[in-house]
């Protein structure tokens, strides 16, 4: 492989937050694609590594399975990289996992919101929570004293 092609190898995280698609469905879709890419199934979805063009094509196919509930981002390190992989670091969550887990908890609501946005459901008026003004706090204190 030439240097140029080597440079163009990317890894994408496919995070599945769907009621109808499971990580194994996504993996099967990728196996079917017959492209020379590496995939790794994880608890949140899959990681896909390979030439940029092939990865983008395959990831698009997977996202099309349930496009508002499957989320994708690029990942810096390839799967199994010694600097990140738990196997070589003696266990524990890999760096970045806590961040991902926090966002994964938010994905069902984001997916629902994307569905609504697509159906052009108008926004409900919601009262914005504001921080307590100093004056109000003073009034509360004085009323209690």
């Amino acid at each position: 492989m030439s240097d140029r092609e080597e440079d163009d190898v990317i890894t994408k995280l496919v995070v599945i937050s769907s009621d109808s698609v499971l990580p194994i469905d996504a993996a099967m879709k990728i196996y079917e694609s017959e492209t020379s890419i590496v995939i790794k199934e994880t608890c949140f979805g899959t990681m896909v590594t390979g030439p940029r063009e092939a990865v983008n094509r395959v990831v698009k196919e997977v996202v099309d399975l349930d496009k508002n509930h499957i989320f994708v981002k690029e990942r810096g390190f390839p799967p199994g990289d010694e600097r990140r992989c738990r196997a070589s670091r003696g266990g524990g969550p890999r760096p970045g996992f806590h961040y991902l887990r926090e966002e994964v908890q938010m994905l069902p609501t984001i997916g629902k919101a994307l569905d609504d946005y697509e159906k052009k459901i108008p926004l409900k008026e919601t009262g914005k929570k504001k921080k307590l003004e100093v004056k109000q706090l003073e009034d509360i204190i004085e009323s209690v004293l």
Binding site: V9, G76, F77, R83, H98, E103, M106, A113, Y117, T126
Partner: protein, 153 residues
């Protein structure tokens, strides 16, 4: 299609939304990938060399801790490259996992200093807020040149 810098710089949700609406996200992950796949630089764990704090000097003063300058060596060029920006405030993940609160402050400050379209939203905590969050980001991204229009795949 424009290059949109996202803050938090490694957010899955923001990176996905920007790409979904037809733009290019400028995110930390791609920059890290460039760093770790550069053949000449290979010093685990993160390939930060003596050059990074020097590059960071363009964005942060010399008395600023080296960690901030090292981070700005990656984030700074991302800000320079950006043609639009989405900033999510009050996100719980930007405390802790994002590493350095001062770098985050500086990043947001430098983005706001640039004369580019910027959207600032608060991190959603419930269904209604999430809907508002997605709608605002969707409308903002559609308003940028080259964004996906209604019904476009």
């Amino acid at each position: 299609m424009v290059k949109v810098i996202i803050y938090p710089t490694n957010s899955l949700i923001l990176s996905d939304l920007v790409e979904r609406f037809g733009h290019t996200p400028i995110a930390m992950m791609e920059k890290i990938k460039e760093k770790i796949s550069t053949v000449s630089v290979d010093s685990p764990p993160l390939n930060i060399t003596a050059e990074e704090p020097k590059t960071g000097l363009k964005y942060a003063a010399v008395e600023v801790p080296a960690g901030v300058r090292g981070r700005m060596a990656i984030v700074g060029p991302m800000i320079d490259e950006a043609e639009a920006a989405i900033i999510v405030n009050e996100s719980p993940m930007s405390f802790g996992c994002m590493g350095c609160a001062r770098t985050n402050e500086l990043t947001k400050f430098l983005i706001r200093e640039r004369d580019i379209p910027i959207l600032e939203v608060d991190y959603p905590t419930g269904d209604d807020e999430a809907r508002e969050f997605v709608y605002e980001i969707g409308e903002f991204l559609k308003s940028l040149p080259g964004g996906k229009k209604e019904g476009e795949q």
